[in-house]
Amino acid sequence: MSTATAPPVAARPAAAHARRGRRRSGLARRRAVIAWAFMLPLIGVNALVVLGPSLFAVYYSFTDWNGIGGAQWVGLANYAELFGDADFRNALWHNVLWTIFFLVVPMVMGLFGAYALTRIRRFRLVFRVAYFLPYIVASVVTAAIWENLLSPDVGVGRILQVNFLGSQTLALPTVAFVNNWAWWGFLVVVFLAAMQGVSPNLYEAAALDGAGPFRQFWSITLPSIQPTFMFLGLMTIIWSFLSFDYVYILTQGGPAGATDVLSTLLYREAFASLRAGYASAVGIVMALISGLVVAAYLVIRKRKDWAV
């Protein structure tokens, strides 16, 4: 491995760090080359699978491509149409609702579950494993589980006389609920790990001051795990705008568009209406939204000096 050729550099990283800025020598340049050499596999595979096809998609978003055959340049026509498209606004709104749901429900469940687990002595492992189990079930299987359970012909739907996936108002929360079932346990595990890194001395001091569990949670736990919390918030927003599997498997965006999200709209435009150019424009807008979220996060991170 190439590290073997650079012992003097790597041997004193702290010293090199201290002198940086004053002496950017050939040594530093060589370090950089070695470092980037290690990045090559990742860069290569990323360019092949993600970056390259994405650039194609950017190009297609300015064309009338039907997914078959040639494409004609139409400039910004797809984007112009997008903003007048009621289906697009509908789907975008559902993504916003979806994001809010996932920023609140699983976060609260995850924080509560994790905090409660830090405060019990017994069975912590059992709970943690059990909560995490749904996360490892494939989305196709999860969908099958809940389709059975919620069905208005058999299962809970019949007992409650509610048609969860057929109702205009309930369908979207129901699909989100099913997705959340598979998701919140992951948050418990991650939050629990973060909370276990909080120094017990802080809690002891707070307890001596007479702070109850809720006070301790607000004034010690939450601030201590803030970086984790913010990072997961970021990922939640990004994943919420990409959300596809559960909607596609359970409702395909129906009934009557009640669960349509950007990704299902994109899929339908590309493969049912044969409008790959327009669908690409939808995809680009989705990517821009994610880009904005990431940028905002990075600004906050820099200001607060987090290392995540």
Binding site: M39, V49, S139, I145, A194, V198, I225
Partner: protein, 293 residues
Amino acid sequence: MTTSPTWARAAGRAPARHPVTGRVSSLTYVLLCALLLFALGPLVLFVFSALKTQSELATSPLSFPSTLRWSNFATAWEQANMGAGLLNSVIIVAGTVAGVCVISGCAAYAMARLDLPGSGTFITYLLVTSSLPTQMFLVPLFYLWTTLHLYDSLFGLVVIYWGLFSPFATLLLRSFMMTIPREFEEAARMDGAGELQVLFKVVLPNALPGFLTIALVTALSAYNEFLFAVTFIQDSFLLPVSTTFFTFQQGFTQDYTLIGAAGVIMMLPMLLLFLALQRRFIEGVSASGLGGV
């Protein structure tokens, strides 16, 4: 490694000294048990449904099966072509995990240990690319894959999974490597260890729980993925189990008990893997950047 790293000891020790009052505990246990029911209830009912007859499922969907119809599993195994699917999935998962570990391992090492210039920008890039909607580049990717003769081969699918899953694995592993104190390496070098020795004897063993984490997360993603699998694998002999299950469920099988049985069969390998490795997996998560810096 005989001594466990400091982070592991810290994580293991902290809860024991946590102040606990009895009153809080009983209420806490009730709520925790409610959550437990929420997590496991549907799974248990699903397993029950796999063991019932069709008519029993229709009449009493929530009860314990009156007689256990194990034959459902054999029927589902055969009808949904689970055997071939599972084998293909094992191949895909192993290839994906091995590749992602190497790719992300190299990249994370460069970012965490080799002071990669511009690594902040690159992290941003990774975050942005992992937030792209994958349906968007399905068609261009397909075109590319056919040109490269990667279409309709398990290897081609594995390469796609490398591309899809390595950014997140890299970020996770990088955060993890950041938490390994550089003093370990310093000490090894003081003792006269060469760079290769440092890498293999100090950095990698310390990073092993991190690798285990990304291996499990990646294995899970690759095993459960179906959109790319169904698009990029044409030969029915090469289809992974997620696709065979999806096809079976969406097909003309009206028998929910068989869907249940096939679903249980599909869940089982990941379940066993997780139960076998869960301690180390969660330990890895807790040491990574996600679990508190």
